[in-house]
Symmetry: C2
Subunit: 336 residues, 2 copies
């Protein structure tokens, strides 16, 4: 599955900037893939890319209208349908990460079939994912792992891809979640894959490559999450990383969605990921730490970063505030 | 999902006794749930339960016709359809573990709808499996784990249930694979569950129970299998076992289906299962080892069992040849 670019980002009647997070993420990480946005008059999301009409977007070459907004329940309201139909008339495919599948709405399916357009539901894995083979592949891989869910694994991976490309290294972000897939234009929604095929899915998104090429694989979940560790270990085994970056939110006390589980300490998190990762890549190494310090003061943040760097002898950054150049320096220094 | 008993075991034109393994397993572990078998004249499977006609089976109270035979490809041949239709006419549901779904065959669906019969595809997980909660449940749980796939995890679990029941302990086998589900009459085909829900599936098959009740959970895969560890860790976390039994085939050198992976040693296998299992049950303990020694001589077998018992101070049995009473003795001795 490859979503055709450039995109027109649809944000409809988004009731806040937060609810347009996917569109904002795409525009931030792949501005070259975006012609503009389209919203309804009652839209409350603010972000700074051109507002376009459908015809205007089509004339600028938009190939896909991307639903870049979320609502509670993840449904596709009737108020959107005419816009989606007209976008298809003007030559665009439609891509969606909503729970309601585009392919479950007969009027959209009928129009798409008639015009030869694609309806791309990025929460729906492709049907032909193989069982993992466990064979060593060429090229280099970096996986972002974490103490918990939602601690910056996607952001960190995208930032590392960007920094590596800036240095003229060969690097490709490999998406495993819906927002990441929209940004990259391809990938596998790994938590929606049948459990027998998770490692296989991780293998196909990071295939054989040049020996100096880095796949930067978006991590999911945590080995320490009682609900989701199956997703995480499958991704760790299948992506056979040479390098891992540990992502962490130092302000979080309990695991996301679980009331009785504290976060693991960084040492345990690092060692367990390395231990289990060695199954498919005996040379796996940790290159550093990426923190989300948005809930901490500057002085707390500096103290925590220094403490981690001194304990592990590895760089520790807030990928948003500091960037990830220290992590990429470390990758180069470790000479993979 | 509860498959109604007693069963009529359908083995059609099984081309060998091996291909009727599922029917033989059901008849072995749940003779009280079987009225007999039905086969075609060219059937080559030999096993010793009454051959019945459909009407005869119905008059003996058969509630479900179970497809107890496998063929290459797992399809349902046209030659079976009339028998299945007639069984429904005579009051029976149909249960199948074939790849081809009963519910994908229009003539069966039509008849089942018309008569109010169930078409049960045991490879198809129920649709309403929740995300794992990770909350401690009452009652006791034993999980069979393994160095690899296909090393006797289902057999060992069923043997432990049988031995515990013989001693008037409260015990229920909890099935996670298709043959186990047919034997138990219920369960979840855990490797067919979407990866986000594997721990949740393990939680619902081993729910809150009396404090002296044992769920004996059928393990799947191996933490050391590069293709399937996601299934295994989800089952380990969700079933939150108090006790594990390590299953192993000492004659096997490479992991099943993988050409470049050796089996883990028993010490590493035990310690990794305990380490990861502690996330959801800090008191998890190993109670012993169950070997498949069918490819070894008697003297080799005795030597290996003695060596394991002396290394670990825990019982080691071949569950087929020796039974599992030493494992149940150990469970009682450890006073969970």
């Amino acid at each position: 599955m490859q979503i055709k670019t450039p995109y027109l980002l649809f944000i409809g009647e988004a009731d806040s900037t937060e609810s347009a997070k996917m569109a904002i993420g795409i525009a931030h990480w792949r501005p070259e893939n975006v012609v503009g946005k389209i919203s309804f008059p009652n839209c409350k999301a603010k972000f700074d890319i051109p507002e376009l009409g459908l015809r205007q977007a089509a004339s600028l070459g938009a190939k896909t209208l991307v639903l870049g907004v979320v609502n509670s329940g993840g449904f596709i309201p009737n108020t959107w349908i005419n816009t989606l139909l007209e976008a298809m008339e003007l030559g665009m495919d439609i891509a969606s990460g909503m729970h309601t599948r585009l392919n479950s709405i007969p009027v959209l399916v009928e129009k798409a079939t008639q015009l030869g357009r694609q309806l791309i539901d990025v929460r729906e894995p492709q049907p032909d994912i193989p069982i993992g083979k466990g064979l060593k592949r060429k090229g280099l891989r970096l996986l972002t792992v974490g103490t918990d869910c939602s601690v910056g694994k996607m952001f960190t991976a995208l930032a590392i891809e960007k920094e590596m490309r800036k240095r003229n290294l060969k690097a490709d972000f490999r998406a495993t979640g819906q927002t990441g897939i929209m940004i990259a234009g391809s990938g596998v929604p790994i938590d929606a894959v049948v459990s027998d095929f998770v490692a296989g899915a991780a293998e196909i998104i990071s295939p054989d490559a040049d020996s100096d090429h880095w796949d930067i694989v978006e991590g999911q979940g945590s080995l320490f999450h009682a609900s989701f560790a199956g997703v995480t270990i499958g991704l760790l085994h299948g992506s056979q990383p040479d390098a891992i970056v540990i992502c962490h939110d130092p302000s979080r006390e309990m695991m996301r969605g679980l009331t009785t589980y504290a976060l693991p300490d960084l040492r345990t998190c690092m060692e367990t990921n390395l231990q289990l990762g060695r199954l498919t890549n005996p040379n796996i190494q940790c290159v550093g730490f990426s923190l989300n310090t948005s809930r901490l003061s500057d002085s707390e943040t500096e103290k925590i970063k220094k403490s981690i760097e001194s304990e592990f002898g590895l760089p520790c950054v807030d990928s948003v505030k500091d960037g990830v150049s220290k992590l990429v320096d470390q990758v180069l220094k470790m000479n993979f």
